[in-house]
């Protein structure tokens, strides 16, 4: 999917919501366990109930891998089921030497045919470039994450800049706002202005609203650009909103609340 196509989807749906499919076999309604593939059945119902309210789905690969080959099959069925006009993110946080990153790029952007994959920057340029070489696909590079451990290394400072700022600056030599987005956690909205000064036109994938405590309006105030430029993710707050036969309706209701708030914020900031 191109940047313009993503922007068009955001405008049409009045939403920049990304729904995280962190599907945990121990947290889904127990009556689904009688299905042949409970994980896929859960995802299918979540997708059916929310696909008009979000512009992206983000399966978190860890949850599928924890179930072995069977989990990987559930992931394959899920990505095939997501409508093609919705942006797909393999939240995989990969990154390795060049010939290995090439294999990960093949795994997620070709075999599974995701639109994008999240990549960790620690190993530098040649660990990221193989993903960027695939046409019309995206890298979403970790910059400033939403977790407590982000303090350990991402704020490491050489006197001129912090590590996450260096990652943003350096990576602009590898790709551009047509194939490179960044993960920036909602738990530090005060950092968005600084980040926007480095990557004004790039999309930011923003986890941490909801369960992790970030504020949507604060994120928009500091992080939105003229094209919106944000994909705000919610996982647990939506997919586990209910825990019985009506779980999909509960998920829809939760997604709808966020989408309504997003419609107002888009109106306010993009007028």
């Amino acid at each position: 999917m191109t940047k313009q196509e993503l922007i068009n989807q955001i405008k049409q749906k009045k939403s920049f919501l990304c729904i995280g499919l962190d599907t945990d076999i121990t947290k889904i309604p127990q009556y689904l366990l009688k299905e042949e593939d409970p994980i896929f059945e859960f995802n299918k119902q979540i997708i059916d109930a929310t696909k008009d309210l979000c512009v992206a789905y983000k399966p978190n690969t860890a949850f599928y891998e924890s179930l072995g080959a069977k989990g990987w099959e559930s992931l394959e069925k899920t990505i095939d089921y997501i409508p093609k006009d919705i942006f797909t993110i393999a939240d995989a946080k990969r990154g390795d030497i060049g010939n290995t990153s090439k294999m990960y790029a093949k795994a997620f952007l070709e075999t599974l045919n995701f639109d994008s994959v999240t990549v960790a920057p620690y190993m530098g340029n040649d660990s990221v470039e193989p993903f960027l070489e695939i046409k019309d696909k995206w890298v979403i590079l970790l910059a400033l994450t939403s977790n407590k451990g982000a303090d350990d290394f991402q704020f490491f400072d050489n006197g001129n800049e912090k590590l996450f700022e260096r990652v943003l600056k350096q990576s602009k030599q590898w790709g551009d706002d047509e194939n490179l987005m960044y993960v920036v956690g909602a738990t530090r909205p005060e950092m968005f202005a600084e980040i926007r000064s480095i990557v004004p036109d790039s999309f930011l994938l923003v986890p941490g609203v909801g369960a992790q405590g970030g504020s949507l309006s604060e994120v928009c105030k500091y992080g939105m650009n003229k094209d919106c430029g944000l994909l705000v993710n919610s996982s647990r707050g939506i997919i586990y909103a209910g825990n019985d036969e009506n779980f999909a309706a509960a998920a829809r209701n939760s997604a709808l609340q966020i989408q309504k708030e997003m419609a107002i914020l888009l109106e306010e900031f993009l007028k």
Copy 2:
């Protein structure tokens, strides 16, 4: 596997060789493609031919994931086939927020039952700890990698220390030399002395000897400690030493050359 058990294996076999199972469907002998599971058949023959010469096997997960669920099945069969007295490394370079790293820990250290998994440090403490919580299992944390892109961020310097040194120092608060090893590339042997001053007793997993150009004797000169403290990996140089019906014998021969050199180096440095 405990640290002492690993040391015992090294002494018995006079080897600190780790064989990387970067098994690529396009590079294995073509006659294997008629097998039901060519990847596993290749690995099986490599393991049979080399298991007395190495102390560790390191499947690189990217190569298996690139084949989808079928690749994941080949990985499951491979890990089950490796003899239990050989240390196993899931070279997966994972790392995510706590509840997600917990799923990755489950995937690799419980479901697949690897002894260890490689982890990327960018997201800090809570992305690493869930792996460390599993008894008798290991994290192998990226410190200084062997690739060119290591220069981009790992040498980022705050005036007192470089990022990879900070990773080494900080991580000592999370685990110890009984559950934490580090990836240090062979392509920078001059850095081993500095690294040993920070983590004198820890095992280092050393890629980059062979195809990537690192020198085994240089690595030992600067990196070996009183227990050996090194697992030196070779992947392509061993597993693709031959490309016909005799590929396993060729792999054995290549591994044997390295093991013989290692026996001499162990004699020299551990006397």
